[in-house]
Symmetry: C2
Subunit: 147 residues, 2 copies
């Protein structure tokens, strides 16, 4: 039927993924090595577009490449239980939620700092003072900022 073949540029456009990144994914084994033309150019078809879109979508949702790899393996074996997929996605959700909490603590702290600013010189700057002394912070709101 539709065995339309194309090179990397079109795959790049169709999956909204830039060319270097495609080659990078191949290099790290996230994409298999495709067939090559007589002139050594990579050749793809629509199944590659689907796979790459899957990868990009998962990445956009914040999944790390290792988890994308796991999801791809699962997607490749439709007889497997859905549970494992659920677990990966659930872990991702938990991570996102944790990051949101961390960032909200940062936000509060930054807002507090900014409110103290009176607009004088650095000598009287409460922001600089606060940065120099963690004790001036709301306790423990940002023990360690993750990414």
């Amino acid at each position: 039927m539709n065995a339309e073949i194309f090179t990397i540029g079109r795959l790049s456009r169709e999956a909204a993924c830039n060319v270097q990144t495609i080659r990078y994914y191949e290099q790290i084994g996230l994409l298999p090595a495709p067939l090559r033309s007589s002139g050594n150019q990579r050749l793809y078809d629509e199944s590659w577009t689907r796979r790459l879109r899957f990868i990009r979508h998962a990445r956009d949702l914040g999944f790390e490449l290792d988890n994308v790899r796991i999801l791809l393996d699962l997607a490749d074996d439709p007889s497997k239980s859905c549970e494992a997929v659920d677990e990966v996605a659930g872990g991702q959700l938990a991570q996102v939620e944790q990051r949101i909490r961390d960032l909200q603590a940062l936000k509060r702290e930054l807002q507090r700092m900014l409110k103290l600013c009176q607009g004088g010189t650095v000598a009287d700057c409460r922001i600089i003072e606060t940065l120099g002394n963690h004790d001036l912070c709301i306790a423990d709101t940002h023990a360690g900022n993750k990414r």
Copy 2:
């Protein structure tokens, strides 16, 4: 007075910053090169502890090293206007707020995906299906995920 001198290990403990990181900060010019002992070990005093704590605190609040550098320069010149400090901190706050918004969109999307899961096999998995097809997403909620 208190001209107590110590080596890198104690600085590391007092500023809660690991040893390699201190050397790294020196290497990239965030910390000046300190005096050395006869045996070539770095020597610090309490003023270094304060500077390093300042750096770590700013980092914990999510400031990038380039911004930390700017803040340090400002802190070093107390006669400067506070405005510049305010601007850096305000920019940081705006960035944090944007990241929170992005992550909340991701969270909604992930929750929606997870709700669809019926617990069968991968063949019927709505998570995998959704990952494979961005059109199934709530429009534009995650056009591009920023860290």
